[in-house]
């Protein structure tokens, strides 16, 4: 059972993990490149692997959704509110639409939102954090105050507010508002990445290898991209997993409230919204979409945990000096 709890340990406290020392040594003895070592450490994290498999399955099935015999938006009132059966494996909703088809297409939306938001917010956060950490001084001060400003707003309130402001505009109509949602969530979630990247830049900036590169005539751009950024890659990747989970939860929450992706485009969130009216009599309407969100988010979190342990072996060692 040891591996199970260790997965939850958030990478702290080695003194009780005596078996870990031997693991790390064995990795070192037959190691190839750093990336191969990292990959091997990731593979040892069983829950992360499980999460990865679940994500791949959900991704594949939602990509293949167009081969399924039902269309997610075709209404058939004769077959409304059916229980799960051979014909409709997960039943039908109040308009007779097939739940499985809607779940599969909803998966496309949720996963695209998760990945796109994560990519955008990482890009923005890395850019701001790198500029602040590299140049320091006034630029650093300005950019960090900007970060403070963004952190001072209650993000759910602002998301709902913007959702309300644009609800009847073309911005919210195209693709059910998919692109707007992605932009807005990303714009409100880059701050943690920026702070992380800035911190690693600050700690590495004055090291000898950077000075050596500078002396050799490396341009600022080259210093940032080739010498400094790789040091931030670990935290950035872990943060990517976390912000994917955050984005999926936020998008489904907003759609649940009616300020996210607009019907008829199915998403897990607006399926839950529709389910509220009928769920006391037809609970499967509420159970399946939520279960999908839960599976995806917990899998992403497992992968994130695995990545953290794999990318930053130091984090397994004692952090007691780091308060």
């Amino acid at each position: 059972m040891l591996w199970w709890t260790r997965a939850f340990d958030m990478g702290k406290n080695i003194k009780t993990l005596s078996s870990d020392d031997t693991n790390i040594k064995s990795v070192r003895s037959n190691s190839g490149s750093i990336s191969a070592m990292t990959w091997r450490r990731f593979l040892r994290h069983r829950l992360a692997l499980l999460g990865m498999c679940v994500l791949l399955i959900i991704l594949l099935t939602s990509l293949l959704a167009s081969y399924y015999r039902y269309d997610p938006e075709s209404i058939n009132l004769k077959e409304k509110l059916q229980s799960p059966s051979l014909n409709h494996p997960l039943g039908t909703d109040d308009l007779g639409r097939d739940m499985l088809a809607r779940l599969l297409y909803g998966g496309r939306v949720s996963i695209s939102v998760g990945l796109a938001v994560s990519a955008l917010s990482l890009l923005l956060g890395t850019l701001i954090g790198a500029l602040a950490g590299f140049y320091g001084g006034t630029i650093d001060n300005l950019l960090m105050r900007l970060t403070d400003i963004f952190l001072s707003f209650p993000s759910l309130f602002v998301l709902i507010l913007i959702g309300a402001m644009i609800r009847d505009t073309p911005l919210a109509k195209y693709q059910g508002g998919l692109f707007t949602i992605i932009m807005v969530i990303a714009l409100l979630s880059w701050m943690t990445t920026a702070r992380l990247v800035r911190a690693t830049f600050l700690s590495v900036r004055e090291m000898e290898f950077v000075q050596a590169a500078r002396t050799l005539g490396a341009t600022n751009l080259r210093l940032i991209l080739v010498h400094l950024l790789p040091n931030s890659l670990g935290p950035i990747i872990v943060q990517g997993a976390l912000s994917t989970a955050y984005a999926i939860l936020t998008e489904s929450g907003l759609s649940f409230l009616g300020f996210g992706i607009q019907p008829p485009t199915p998403t897990w969130g607006n399926m839950l919204k529709d389910a509220q009216t009928y769920m006391t009599r037809y609970p499967w309407l509420a159970i399946f979409p939520g279960l999908m969100i839960f599976f995806v988010v917990i899998s992403v979190n497992f992968v994130g945990d695995g990545l953290r342990d794999a990318l930053d072996p130091r984090s397994i060692q004692s952090q007691s000096t780091n308060t």
Partner: protein, 324 residues
């Protein structure tokens, strides 16, 4: 320390000014503006509209309007609701007690449960208790809480029946039953499901935090010294480890204070709890911008102050920061 606190406080001032500018800009960007609802009103003609624009000062230059707006904010005048014409401050005053009651109870439940659970889980690391706690805490942070709320309603409202009345085991909405206004036990009964929903994520987060903080503490040398001197384990934990493990929690608590005001949008919406979160949701549905902007503005100010508070309290309890 005074120096540090003064510097941190001074940083908050430009922050507050810029926040007010952003909210003002958002308010200006609202489609249609404050007079939009009159534009299709047949009883109001061009001249009236013009008079209204004059009255509300909409023709003033933007900096003037901004200053006027900030001036009224300082006097806690947030304008009137577009829908009911009631002063926004009055609406908030009606909702705030409900939210405070719900959030404060959930907060106390969270602290009462997560502190012992987190500490025991750390002391008994890798025991069955620890495995169960860590698993639930991990799941609790991944579950969409609005879905958890719906599940609670399905199970405790529609499936399980009360053995006394034959009705639902727990109500799925409201603060009191119609004929039981103000009854403490009835209120508690109504609060049970919303509190459960709210505290799951909260407890998960605090428990995980406390567990790792406690693990870090009990592996430090001074704890080993205490043990080596023959101090009984229970006193080692309670007197030496516990205080240091809980200190970081103070920051977390301070940062969570704004939620006590802002309420919980999902919980209050699902359980029809007439608090701030539901007020925000309803105002967004009706596009009642003065209410929305007031709530966003107040919450943002509270966030800035709670950040300051977190720093102050931390400096107060941790000498390393005070003298650092």
């Amino acid at each position: 320390m005074g120096n540090y606190l003064a510097r941190r406080s001074l940083q908050a001032i430009p922050l507050l000014i810029i926040i007010s500018m952003v909210v003002f800009a958002l308010l200006q960007a609202t489609p249609g503006g404050p007079l939009a609802r009159f534009e299709n009103d047949p009883t109001i003609n061009e001249a009236d509209l013009k008079a209204l624009r004059q009255k509300y000062g909409l023709d003033d230059p933007i900096p003037v309007r901004y200053l006027k707006w900030v001036g009224s904010l300082v006097r806690l005048d947030f304008g009137n609701s577009y829908i009911t014409q009631q002063p926004v401050l009055e609406i908030i005053g009606e909702r705030l007690p409900n939210t405070l009651r719900l959030m404060a109870t959930a907060f106390i439940v969270t602290l009462l449960l997560s502190i012992p659970i987190g500490i025991i889980s750390a002391i008994k690391q890798y025991s069955i208790f620890d495995h169960v706690v860590t698993s639930i805490a991990f799941a609790g942070q991944s579950i969409p809480i609005f879905w958890f709320g719906l599940l609670l309603i399905i199970v405790f409202y529609s499936k399980l029946k009360s053995p006394w009345s034959g009705g639902p085991l727990f109500p799925a909405g409201g603060i009191y039953s119609l004929d039981q206004q103000g009854n403490f036990w009835d209120g508690l009964w109504h609060m049970f499901l919303p509190i459960t929903m709210l505290s799951l994520a909260w407890i998960s987060w605090y428990t995980r935090f406390l567990r790792s903080s406690m693990l870090e503490t009990i592996n430090q040398d001074y704890i080993r010294t205490a043990r080596a001197k023959g101090l009984r384990e229970i006193w080692t934990i309670l007197k030496h480890a516990f205080p240091n493990a809980v200190i970081p929690l103070i920051t977390l608590i301070a940062l969570d204070l704004p939620t006590l005001f802002a309420g919980a949008v999902y919980t209050e919406t699902i359980f029809s709890w007439p608090g701030m979160g539901r007020l925000f949701f309803q105002s967004a549905m009706r596009r009642d911008y003065p209410v929305l902007m007031a709530v966003v503005m107040i919450t943002a100010v509270l966030i800035v102050f709670s950040n300051l508070l977190a720093d102050f309290v931390y400096a107060l309890v941790d000498p390393r920061i005070r003298y650092g």
